[in-house]
Symmetry: C2
Subunit: 242 residues, 2 copies
DNA sequence: CTGTCTAAAATGTCAGACAATTAAACGCAC
DNA sequence: GTGCGTTTAATTGTCTGACATTTTAGACAG
């Protein structure tokens, strides 16, 4: 670990990078304790507040955890699946909204990836996954459900589909595409007729997965893709006219 | 923006969360200036160093940028595609290595997602993408290429395949699966015979995409999946015996 | 041997100060 | 009035020193 003393600005960023590199490279293993803040301050020849800013940067990326007390300090943290999952969704959502990714692009990506999961999900889905999907379909059919709740349920349905593939790496990567689309989906007004079509397709998907019929699931997903695209286009047009 | 004064610990985390929420919710738009550190310190009733630690957390997530000088301050930052991409790869790689995801799972996810891209790539790939793929195939055939370089080239080839789909959302999500597998791929020793098989399949894929023949590409990818899995299993066995 | 108390170590926070940087405001010559 | 250099004010970056809080380990008394 060392920093460039010539570059006087952004000391805390440099220190954070130095420590981050030794974590990523594997020099420091999980649960290993970093030197104390004072020691780090001495090593890098900066003040303790500067070291602390660097450590907060790492904490923000879930790379370390800190613990107070006599045996306390900063420890390399095992990146938990749930945290990474949550962070991935946040980042994906921001990326879409801040860079004005259009509905078509996001939708295409989302369903292309979901269709990649369908064959695996047909093979491995458990009764639990099917039950979740059925429950969400039932929820989607409830009268008086707000558009936002309908979208929530839609996401939950598709998450069950993806999780059915029983591959955490797939679930993780898919989360970014499926959940990040929610703000875009929320712009759509779902009429009763829209909902009926979607629920019908969801039912076909659930049936297909239950029968382990991958081809049917794929076909229904393809139709759902096309239908969602249509709805999105209409919503965008309505928004443009207003 | 407000924080819980009862919970005395982790003030900087609370402040970071408060600011992050107003960025994510859209209350603060891109390039909007945050109050100065002193003003934030007053608002939250904490000291400036504490505010600074909070701001560093946000800076670590690329949510803000800071600028010195008279009109300086902290500004909401447009999350750039490249930064998010790089961060996504880092996180995915760490997630895989720290949680000991097995080769099979990662491999399955990677190729399932790639196969989702193939039809789109067959439709939209540009001559540029094809040229990149051909160049990487040529590089892979060079004698004396180290295993690591071979893997690098493999990743570059597949990235071109994915980018050919011309969907940034897909490219972004796929990056996590493709690039994060590199450390696992690096454990494999690629014999000349292994390489010949892989290069053959790569050539089939490139040919299929050039002909816009999506079915052929999918078939070659399926074979590549199976072959990579075999290589991975052998590598794991060899590692276990040692 | 056991329980309690104290001390030490570490992070969390604060206050105040100075340095560095940047742009706007100002003043002055032309 | 205009243009250019200078000053000045605002803001972040950093440092010093201090105190608060939390937690453990060890000393000590019973």
């Amino acid at each position: 670990m060392k920093i460039d003393p010539k570059n006087k600005s952004d000391l805390s960023a440099q220190i954070a990078k130095a420590i981050r590199d030794s974590i990523i490279s594997g020099d420091m293993i999980v649960d290993e304790r970093l030197p104390s803040e004072s020691e780090l301050a001495d090593q890098f020849d900066v003040s303790r507040p500067t070291v602390r800013e660097a450590l907060k940067r790492l904490a923000a990326q879930n790379l370390i955890r800190t613990q107070r007390g006599a045996t306390g300090g900063a420890f390399v943290r095992r990146l938990s699946y749930d945290e990474a999952y949550a962070q991935h969704i946040t980042t994906s959502t921001l990326l879409l909204s801040m860079n004005a990714v259009d509905f078509e692009t996001a939708c295409e990506a989302r369903f292309a990836l979901e269709r990649a999961c369908a064959p695996l999900s047909a093979k491995r889905r458990t009764p639990d996954h099917l039950a979740t999907m059925r429950a969400e379909i039932h929820r989607q059919a409830q009268p008086g459900l707000s558009d936002e709740r309908f979208c929530d349920s839609d996401v939950a349905f598709h998450r069950a589909l993806v999780d059915g593939a029983d591959n955490p790496v797939l679930s993780y990567q898919l989360a970014g595409a499926v959940e990040a689309m929610q703000p875009l989906m929320n712009m759509i007004t779902f009429t009763q007729r829209n909902r009926d079509v979607i629920i019908g397709l969801h039912t076909r998907i659930a049936d297909a997965l239950e029968m382990k019929n991958s081809a049917d699931a794929d076909e229904a997903l393809a139709e759902l893709t096309a239908y969602t695209l249509t709805l999105g286009e209409e919503a965008m047009e309505a928004r443009a006219r207003r």
